[in-house]
């Protein structure tokens, strides 16, 4: 089926771009919530890449990446939950929901 040959490429491309977009945002955005979102988007990009690869497979749809992505999603949500709580704690402790520009002076 020609359909399935081309469209995974689109998603592969999209996945890569999402990854880089997330990475860039993670680097340049200051707010912690945005950083957390950026990490999630990076992850989505990777998942998309994996699923694209699976869909592109020669021997039909490859179920292993699906399993991997499901696992990945769960891991991502766990990390996100922890990060969000930590963000709130940082906010409560420092009054800012972002990383300070410099570390604590010793």
């Amino acid at each position: 089926m020609t359909v399935d040959v081309i469209s995974p490429q689109i998603y592969l491309l999209c996945g890569v771009l999402l990854f880089v977009l997330g990475l860039h945002a993670l680097v340049v955005r200051r707010h912690l919530l945005l950083k957390i979102l950026a990490v999630n988007i990076m992850g989505s990009g990777v998942f998309m890449l994996l699923l694209g690869v699976a869909a592109r497979g020669e021997g039909g749809i490859d179920p292993v990446p699906h399993a991997l992505v499901i696992t990945g999603i769960v891991v991502a949500v766990s990390a996100t939950a922890v990060a969000l709580v930590l963000m709130l704690k940082v906010k409560a402790a420092t009054g800012l929901a972002r990383l300070p520009l410099s570390g604590p002076e010793d």
């Binding site: 491309l13 860039h24 497979g57």
Partner: protein
Amino acid sequence: MIRRRFALSPALLMSLALAGLLIVVVLDLPPQPGLAGPVAQAMDQAGVGHPVTAVLLNFRGYDTFLELAVLMLAVLSIWSLGRRDPIPARPVQGPVMHGTLRHLIPVAVVTGGYLVWVGSSDSGGAFQGGAVLGAAGVMLMLSLPREMPMPPALLQRLGLSLGVFAFLAVGTAGLLAGHGFMGYPPAWAYHLILGIELAAAVSIALTLVLLFLGGRSRKVRHDR
């Protein structure tokens, strides 16, 4: 505004370079068979009919086991960070909400259960089912009075670790019974997997609710 945040900068240049490289590499990925073939071959011993579920709970059951562990650890990590704040911005309490919930929650429970069960043969499974159950739980949390008496701490913890525990127990049993760690006796595979899935779904649902709540319970002092 947006332009300023994503202004041309070394960071952007480098990101673009990385993107370019990744694109080139990704578009150039060689065709490869993947694991579809081996999975298909092994399906008859998998104990379940759905390949994804087979991979998740049998072939790569260890991954899933550790994934449950990650979830549980996330809750524990959050708990370790302190007690939770009350949930902000509750929807207004009212009959509509109540009525909706009254209908929605049983539906969700049934859907979740179904998803878990159907996972063995078709799309669905513990995570999806658990997620649906968890979503229902979250809504319940939102609708319930501000300080709902939580279940006893031990029960919470038991529920939380149920999935990991079941998985670990079955895996260890397999090891002791000579099927290797995380190995099922082929004859029992289906039942064991279903059992694990159920336990996992309960745990996942509870975990998601607890993640949503964020932090240890405020009233019930279960760790003294």
